[in-house]
Each structure stands twice: as C-alpha cells, then as structure tokens.
Amino acid sequence: MSAAATTTLPAAATATPPEPRASRAPLWLILPALLLFVGIVLVPLAMTVLLSFHDWGQYKGIEPVLVLKNWHEIATDPYYAEMFGRTLRIALVTTVATALLGAPEAYILNRMSGRWRGIFLLLILGPLLISVVARTLGWALLFGGANGLANKLLMSLGLISSPLPFLFTETGVVIALVHVMMPFMVLSVWAALQRLDPQVEHAAMSLGAGPLTIIRRIVLPQIMPGVLSGAIIVFSLSASAFATPAIIGGRRLKVAATLAYDEFLNTLNWPLGAAVAVLLLAGLVLIVVGANALVERRYAEVSR
C-alpha cells in the first residue's frame, strides 16, 4: 500500500499541470462583501480605536489630538478595575450556571420521544422569540422590591419577612442572564448529542457499565466540545450584554457595557467611552480565541 503510493507519487506530481488561471478569476466576486465589511465593521472600529486616544473636556468637547489620557485613567482608577472585574465575574458565573443546567437539560431533551421533545424544545427556545427587554422587565416585575409579585406572594405566605433583594444585585443580573443565555447552551450541547452514536451507550452497557458510569465516562467526554463552545458563546454574550444589566443593575450596578453607554450618552465623554468599549472588545476577543484554540487542541479526536 505505502510502497505503491511512494512509487506513483512522483509521477503524479510531474503529471499535474500548472495551476489553471481560471481558479483565480472569481476572486473579485468577494469585492462587494469585502467593501461592506470594511465599510460597516472595520472603518467604524478603527474610528472608535482612534477616538479612544482623543482628548475631552467639560467645556472644550472632543479634541482630535493623540493622548493616552483615557487609557491612563482606566489603568489607574480602581473604579474601572471594579467595573471590569464585575463584568468578568457575572459572565463567568452565568457561563458556569448555564453549563450546569443546560447540559443535563439537553441530555434529557435528547432522550425524550419525538412529540414531547418538540414541545420542550419550543419551551427552551421560546425566550429567544421575546425581546430581551420584555423578558428582563418580567423578572423585575416578579422580584422588584416590595411590589414584586413573587416577593408579595412569599411575604404573604410568611416565608420571608422582607422582599428578596433582586434589583441592583449581581445575583439578580446573573439569574436574568442565565435565563436569557440558556437556549444557546442547550442548542450547542444538543448539536453535540446529535452526533453521538446511540449504539455507543449500548456498547458501554454490554461491557458492564452502569448508567452513571456511562454518562461520566462515555457521554460527557463526547459532548464536552459542545459544552465548551456553548460556554464560549454564553461568556462573550454575557460579558457584552447591555439590556439585562441595564434594567436589573441600573445605574447602581454598572458593568463594562453600561459604563461605556453612560460615558457616551450621559457624561458625553466619547473618548473615555470608546476606550472602555475597545478594552472590552479586545479582552473578549483574546479570551474567546484563546479558549477556542484550547478546546480544539484538547478535543481534536472527538470533534473531528
């Protein structure tokens, strides 16, 4: 087999004609898409980066000069460290929570019979069909102070004496975010489960493995790439989420996204807002690309 391959290989290499010109012709076809990409992504992004180096003053407005003032402020003022630390913490806790809840959810969903699976899939994907703002306001109505429905009910039942703190707390933001992000995790894990050979579980069973061993040793390692890619999606969406932290966290509990928003629209300090936004973007790209490379290397055998 290998001997035959080595003897035929040189012949095949010399016989191959030079690269035909035709294969290069369609390159210009990507031009419209390229222009669109450059025009609406790259140029604004470059302008934002440039903006973050401009100067700003209460009375002089934006001055198109190149200074490191904004970056220096972010690097030295502990206020920004707190904001970014909180953003990271919320995103991490949300990611872990969706993985812990979403992976078993997808596994159970996958084992359901056709009709029930359809109904429950719709229930899980349902939140995606409703605006984030509407969903988050729903949480606020349930747990918002003493007038929240759930709080009222719990207090009238005598289970709690004062309303559960939900608005303006990190716990509240995480709970609302987990609800919003769950479909992404479930879909990602479900896609991994679809690729599982159903006979593999039977094979493990015939070799003497119990149900827990099968899940731990056979199923989980195979769907881990799905869990991790779901985690990457959830993490990046949670870290840059705006609506949920804005409504639940409000002005009192700011994260990077709401901070940038406030700098732009309340303080009108566009250069500082741009610096915050660029830092958030750069951090996210770094984390996502790094995590993705790690996943692909670690699970090369499974995800191929």
Partner: protein
Amino acid sequence: MIPTPRSAVPLLELDRVAKTFGGHVAVEDFTLAVSPGEFISFLGPSGCGKTTTLQMIAGFLAPSRGTIRLEGRDLTQVHPSRRGLGIVFQSYALFPHMTAAENVAFGLEMQRVSRAERTERVRAALAMVGLSGYEDRHPRRMSGGQQQRVALARALVIRPSVLLLDEPLSNLDAKLREEMQIELRQIQRNLGTTTILVTHDQTEALSLSDRIVVMSKGRIEQIGTPQDTYERPASAFVAQFLGKTNDFAARVEGASPARIVAGGWSAPAPVGLRGPVTISVRPERIGFSEEGLPGRVAARVFQGNHWLFQCETECGPAIVVRPNDGLAQPGEGEAVRLAWRPEDMSIRDMGLRAGAVA
C-alpha cells in the same frame, strides 16, 4: 463443513420468544437451542426480525412473550450490563474519545480487573485481531476494517459466554469483507466462543456458520446446516433467498411408471405425484447436453471463474452457471438443451399429490 458439536446442555435457549411493537409483530414463536461453541447465523432480509431477536438476547429489548435462558438461568430480568455478552455493533460503536487500547480495556475496568492483568489482556486481544502497535490510535484515525477489529477485540476481551455480531461486516468493502470472514471464523474456532451472527448476506451465513436460522417476516423458515438449507430448502422463501434458483413449469405424465416432463427433459416421478408441478433447480446444477429441455441462450456474461447464461425455454426463463473450465461454451443466440440430474431438483408448489389426498 465441520459437524456441529453437540452437547446435552444447550448454552443459550430461546423458548417461544416473541416481540410485538404496538400492533406490529416483529418476532413470533422463536425457539432455538444453541450448543456451546456453536456458530449460528440469523439470516433474512431487512425487517425479518433478526436484529430484534439479537437485541432481546442482548437485553436492549424486552421480549413480549417467551423466555431466554443462558446456562439454564432465566435472562429476562437480568440487566444488559450483567449478562456478560460480547457485542459487535453494525456501526462498531467504538468510544471515539478513547484510544484503541482504552476501548478494549473499558470492559475489563468495569469488571475491576487489576491494572497489570488488564494491560496484558488488552495487548493479547489487540494482537489476536492483528492490531499490535495500534494501541494509542484513536478510532477516527483508523480504517473501517481496523475499527471493526478493535470492536471485535473489545467484545472478546471480557471473555463473553456468547458473542453477538450485528451485521458486523456490512460496512466493509467486498475484498475486506471476505478477509474478515475468514479471520472471524479462525478466531471463533480458536477461542471456541459461542457466536450468533445477524446478517442479510447469504454468502456470509453459508461460509461462517455451523447452523443457519433463516427468517422471514418475524418467523423462522428453517434451521439447519448451511448445506441442508441450501440443498434442501424447507420453503419457497428459503430456496429463493439462499442463492438463485430456476423454477420450471412441468407436468407429470403417464401412469405406472409416471414421469415428470419439462419440455424435452424427463425423469421418473415420485410415487403418487400427479398433474402440473413446479420444479426448481439451482443454476450451477444445470448442464448443456445433447438431450433435455430445449432453449436458446439470450445472454452470456463472463464472470472470471465462471460463465453466466440466461436462457429462454418453453418452461420459463433459466439461469445457468458453468465453471470456466477452458472448454468451448455456447454463444448468444445459440440453441441449447438443458439437463440436470433428478436428485438435483426439488419439487415445490405441488399440484395434486395423490398420496396426500388419500
């Protein structure tokens, strides 16, 4: 073939096993006793219930009726993980995240075999299937045939009481399939593991098995040695399914001595046979001769070691297979006469059998 080893106590018994899905009967009245060391094939077209039966033995499906006994013990209530059977699946069902060695070792880990013994048995099992040196490969980096071998090693390393093979060779190309058949048979002989093979490939069943269970529509059509089922098919279905066969419309003429007549061919009729009958003859048992059923060669196909002739006769179309012995063969359009020995023919679809009526 080697005579079937028989012992007084069957290893595996299926007693009137049946399986129904809703209103659909998948398997009905399946009774079989498998002796230790025997190689049994369940043969039939898809949907005949052979895989369902195998799954009931494995424990992935519960029988609707009947009992399955292994070494005299009722298996029906035993969980699949406690049955100690080795199974090779059609898709191989290897664990993709484990290396070949880890795949094979998994069953031993479940049995809590010590690490040292495990390593040794895994090495021996992979060597047995010719995969020494592939210990650290992942399944996705192996060819279909190699994955097949890992699956076989994984099933055999736990020393199963019965080895169940679910169409294990159907995903391999023809040449590899033939090689694996021979190897499978050798390994099975050497280990003496009782084996049940599910297949729709009659050649596979004929060449591997001690006994064949031919199934159709959930029922057993015939149980017998490969020669038995091929030479003496118990039903029209078995005759059609196992190899090709020619059906000729013939008549019984004259009385004492009565003769079966098919065109220019005739032979003494069995006592009491009367009227129109259908006789069936295997293609390789028909020869060209001076006398016999007149016909014309409609098409001739060269197949290497043999010739295939399609002939038209007054008793119906006929397929004739002749070995490529170097002698001259009739060409297309040529008139021929077909002849066969009376003992090579079976009489089916009988008209009136005088003896049966009386």
